[in-house]
Symmetry: C2
Subunit: 113 residues, 2 copies
């Protein structure tokens, strides 16, 4: 099955990439929900947060570290941001390749959806 995020990671599909390293790629969400809305994905295909365990938790932590780096790069570190991972139907997951949402540029409200 074609995975659009694997394709973006492989540069086979266009995306507005803001950061990449050997383990992750970050790009603008095509349906932004805030003035800044960036997705950070592992290059390795992990279906969702439910598939994270001791074997691959390191890469998930790296997504959060990269979010901090991007926050500084984008000038949103001081005001803050929200990070979201969705799993399955109740989480509202739409693409089944784990992606960390980084949302900023406005005051996020509570509850988080």
């Amino acid at each position: 099955m074609i995975c659009i995020f694997c394709e973006i990671a492989a540069r086979e599909r266009a995306a507005r990439i803001v950061y990449e390293d050997d383990r992750v790629v970050a790009f603008h969400d095509v349906n932004p929900q805030a003035p800044v809305h960036i997705l950070i994905i592992p290059r390795d295909h992990i279906s969702g947060p439910l598939d994270v365990d001791v074997a691959n938790e390191g890469i998930i932590g790296h997504l959060v570290a990269v979010a901090a780096r991007i926050a500084r790069q984008e000038g949103i570190a001081d005001n803050g941001y929200r990070l979201v991972l969705n799993q399955g139907r109740d989480g509202g997951q739409s693409v089944f390749h784990t992606h960390l949402h980084l949302l900023a540029g406005r005051r996020m409200t509570w509850p988080p959806g």
Copy 2:
């Protein structure tokens, strides 16, 4: 300064703990925003997601792996869940000890706040 989450991790403050290991503690949020609303925190004090870097990203990934384990334990794995980390004012961060929100038991909406 007193950190209430450090106190919970040290068992010096009461909380409805659902899981703990040598690195993390998980307990019910006192202000639930969904039928299931659990906070997962590192025992080590990390102020927020902005303070995550290569040195401590491993523990943050572990929070997500523990969320998957708790999801199975609580019977919410199949329907899914949302994970949230808030940083600073725009993120709506209220306690300055990093905590991963695990929300489930209803369909979470979009945008995430």
